[in-house]
Amino acid sequence: AQSVSQHNHHVILSEAASLELGCNYSYGGTVNLFWYVQYPGQHLQLLLKYFSGDPLVKGIKGFEAEFIKSKFSFNLRKPSVQWSDTAEYFCAVNGRGNNRLAFGKGNQVVVIP
């Protein structure tokens, strides 16, 4: 079964700072990778996804993530955060052809204006 690790559960930073959230997974086969974001009081929304191709994927709101297969990682980045990026961020993975998502524990990000 697949598993996902996210570290630094609570992240506090100032506006315009850069953000990087780590995500490592374990799975024995080909994977699909996702980052979801949950703004306060809202549903889980897809931020970006990787299925195949260019390992550097760009998502909404200036976020990007890089799939490094050798490191089993899919880290999320944003060069300059805004107060509106305050949210919880979840990394998730499923095996190719398997629709069961495994989630990380999430990163609670607070951006101070």
Partner: protein, 113 residues
């Protein structure tokens, strides 16, 4: 706007009571899922549902849980005899197939007292 609507948003129930959580996917996607998140823990997969039957279920999804899509629209999760440890946020999701992203609802917060 979420593409999956869940009702109720919050439900409080007494231990031993039956609860039904409802989900209305706003599309004709074929794959449906239930996930849950116990406070402070990871989002966990419960069950996937395709073509009116369970396609996969986790070890959490024991005999006290059941799912159905009775009218071709609503997708429900029933917990027959709730326990304190069933208190969690329950998320419904849908996807077009197994290699596309899942769209989540806002969740139902279930509190068992």
């Amino acid at each position: 706007e979420p593409e999956v609507t869940q009702t109720p948003s919050h439900q409080v129930t007494q231990m031993g009571q039956e609860v039904i959580l409802r989900c209305v996917p706003i599309s004709n996607h074929l794959y449906f899922y239930w996930y849950r998140q116990i406070l402070g823990q990871k989002v966990e997969f419960l069950v996937s549902f395709y073509n009116n039957e369970i396609s996969e279920k986790s070890e959490i999804f024991d005999d006290q849980f059941s799912v159905e899509r009775p009218d071709g629209s609503n997708f429900t999760l029933k917990i027959r005899s709730t326990k304190l440890e069933d208190s969690a946020m329950y998320f419904c999701a849908r996807s077009q197939d197994t290699n596309t992203e899942a769209f989540f609802g806002q969740g139902t917060r279930l509190t068992v007292v």
